[in-house]
Amino acid sequence: MRYLPKSPADREAMLKAIGLRSVDDLFAQIPAEYRLSRDLKIPRQMAESEIVDFFRQRSRENGEGHASFLGAGAYAHYRPVIIDSLISRGEFLTAYTPYQAEISQGTLQSIFEFQSMICELTGMEVANASMYDGSTAAAEAVMMAVRLTGRRSVVVARSLHPEYREVLATYATHQGMPLSVMGFGNDGRLNLHELEKSITAETACVLIQSPNFFGTIEDVAAIADVAHKNGAMLVVSIAEAVSLGIVEPPREADVIAMEAQSFGVPLGFGGPYCGVIATREKFVRQMPGRLAGQTVDKQGRRGFVLTLATREQHIRREKATSNICTNQALVALMVNIFMTVYGKVGLKELAKQNLAKAAYASAQFAKQANVLFGSAPRFNEFVVQTSEDPIAINSRLLEHKIVGGLPLKKFYPELGNAALWCCTELTTRTAIDTAVARVAESGRSDRSTREEVAEVTR
């Protein structure tokens, strides 16, 4: 086996040194009746070339070469080449969690820079080293608010990513945390009246997403007012990190739970991604996850360590703030490199291009269909309502190697024939025009049907 650095003679010599006759003696402590006396039923050893062929074949069956208008929590942005060059260095790729600080300063300093940049972008005072993803970060942020307020019930926006809501429900069920869901208004934003009615003295926090699932930017200040007036915390989920380049961050929030996938992380069929929690300094001791902090060594030189570990499972066991151990370190490094590449000016310009593409696309769609929630500002996603089922439109688009917007019937049946469309800096005007033309076909066929019906009635 090519990964094993031993010759048969080495194994012989080692067994002899241990004082054993055969390898089987090493497994003598396993009761004989449980030992496997056959080969595992898995395919034979494959050559490297065969493995590469296998995955190339799977790649061809997996939408290779399609343009896409899908967003909804997973965004196609350009990934600068140096991200993969740098994260492929074995010293990053094949290192463990930096518990031994003296030989992990590279990882530790990079986490410290990551935390610093997340703070700059979110307007928060502290950020952790990462969480699994945006959905679990949101659930953990809510549990954090529950610990901080000593209250148990949670108010959740229906405009929060539906799968994030599902994850929160899973986490909340057995914690005895009642959830209530708040609807959205005609502008796609959280319904403030409904919020005022549903928030109570038992509400630990209000959880919203901004830009929300429809791409619409919430009135965070107004929502924060209602939450804070009632002694509840405001947790804001950010699923499209690129929005932070041009959209004011939710500074009024108490906790921000972010998905940083947009910052240089491949779509990868849904993961691994990079969750992050950011908050106020005063709440840091209730924050889950690892934290890197600055300190000095015995000679007074600057260095970094994992710190405030008394929050964590390996110290506090059942009293820990969370059970999280392994996080998304290498993905956080991708995010860190991405943020460094674009920086102060580039992120803004990048976000502007996203905004411009989505503005053009939504205006074009509006000529052929009903673009919902137009009265509130939005970033790079928008909802298009059509007369025809969007699944039918999408299957026409697939013939052009274009993946249309996400049909919303499964998540929001009340919106009828609606789909969520996303444009990023990678979306071309040609693809937009092609997509709009296919939607127009449904408009035409629909109109002609109506005309026929009208003629018959006449």
């Binding site: 009761p31 939408g63 074995g90 959209v247 004011e248 970094f304 499972q313 500002p377």
Partner: protein, 496 residues
Amino acid sequence: MKHVTRKASLQVNQNEGLIFEKSSAGKAAWKLPPLDVPEVDTAKLLGASERKELGNMPEVSEIEIIRHFTRLSTWNYAIDLGMYPLGSCTMKYNPRVNEAVARVEGIANGHPYQPEKISQGALRILKTLSEQLIEITGMDAITMQPAAGAHGEMTGLLMVRAYHQSQGNARKKILIPDSAHGTNPATAAMVNYAVENLKSDSRGMVDIAALATQMSEDVAALMLTNPNTLGVFEQDIHKIADILHAKGGLLYMDGANMNALVGKVRPGDFGVDVMHLNLHKTFSTPHGGGGPGSGPVAIKKSLEPFLPTPVVTTKADGTLAFDYNRPQSVGRVRAFYGNFGMFVRALAYIQANGPDGLRQTTEDAVLNANYIRKGLEGTYDLPYSTPTMHEVVFSDKLQAKKGVRTMDIAKRLIDYGFHPYTTAFPLIVPGALMIEPTESESKEEMDLFIEAMKSVAEEVEEDPQTVLEAPHSTRVSRLDETAAARKPVLRWKPPV
């Protein structure tokens, strides 16, 4: 250094500040293509939501970024540099073909919501890996959704709870041996189960008599790591399972140490009802400085209705699809389908090994641990003489007489060119040195390790101060962790 090490020598490395300290206005590492749609008036589109400035984000050029992170990387130890004997962490070789295939276009760029018709490749990978992990564990079904081991534990216990609820009683507590990982009790608390500690016996195994006494209809499950954190296989595993099952309880296995079992014995065959795997341990996906991981949960038939949604199914026409209609499911534990990129790597690893390679891997991992045990026995105290599987746990009892503790020995090992072993865990061994070489180490590398450990032991006798002040060869010496925690500095701020 009194004792010369054959493993490493000193090398100059580069100093490097924080990226913010290199920033100055006007430098850039990015270039966007010209916009092919009309420019927009941001103020008009966004109104009060428009962001005016991005604080202290850096402005640097590409070569500076390359040098910055390359310099940082040289301050890390890594498997690629040498043996990384962290017990319980399974720091094995991370094959590079895994990285190559994870970056093939349709796999790296697949969107989780793209139509199933053009997702057959990803679904096939999910299904193939699931089936192979089921065969390897001897279980009946699996979910790939959990993002890491601890997340898998949570998912597993949610299924345990759902199972008991369906039997009419969710039950109240989880039994956890005192040798367990910290994630086990933390997870039980997250799903609102009380934790009851279970003592180990003089062999370092579950105390069967204590288990029989503590087992009741209130116990939902026992969370057992097997081999346990001492590297010892629970010989009485069948009795353990019987005691639990007789009172309707379930046996949960923490699969952190599955590297000792693959191809030799299957948990499903010895009575386990639920278990998680760590793809970043046993199945070679890289640790990446702390993640990403992946923590699939394999289960017996009786728990299948409770799997998180969605699950992969085969349609009548042979194509694959996601099934969301699972009324008894515990729900979702993560958006989308899990850390898919890790599935690709784990599957490539299994393919490269085949049945014979996986078996040989396990045999070599156990052989290596026993070789180290033999080499260091006598030099370091071995608190449990029970046979060792994939890892061996010594204690610092002999060295403590000179005031040198496990952490000091670990730090001194750094000067010899090795990453330390796991210190002060498991909790049942005071001053533990927990060593897991994995199968990836050659005889030569382990001989160097044994030599280094013996040399440190000699230093403890002759010159304990050198060991107490170690490491001496690193960029920074021991860092002030107390100060870091007392006055936390968790982000960079511009100098005032």
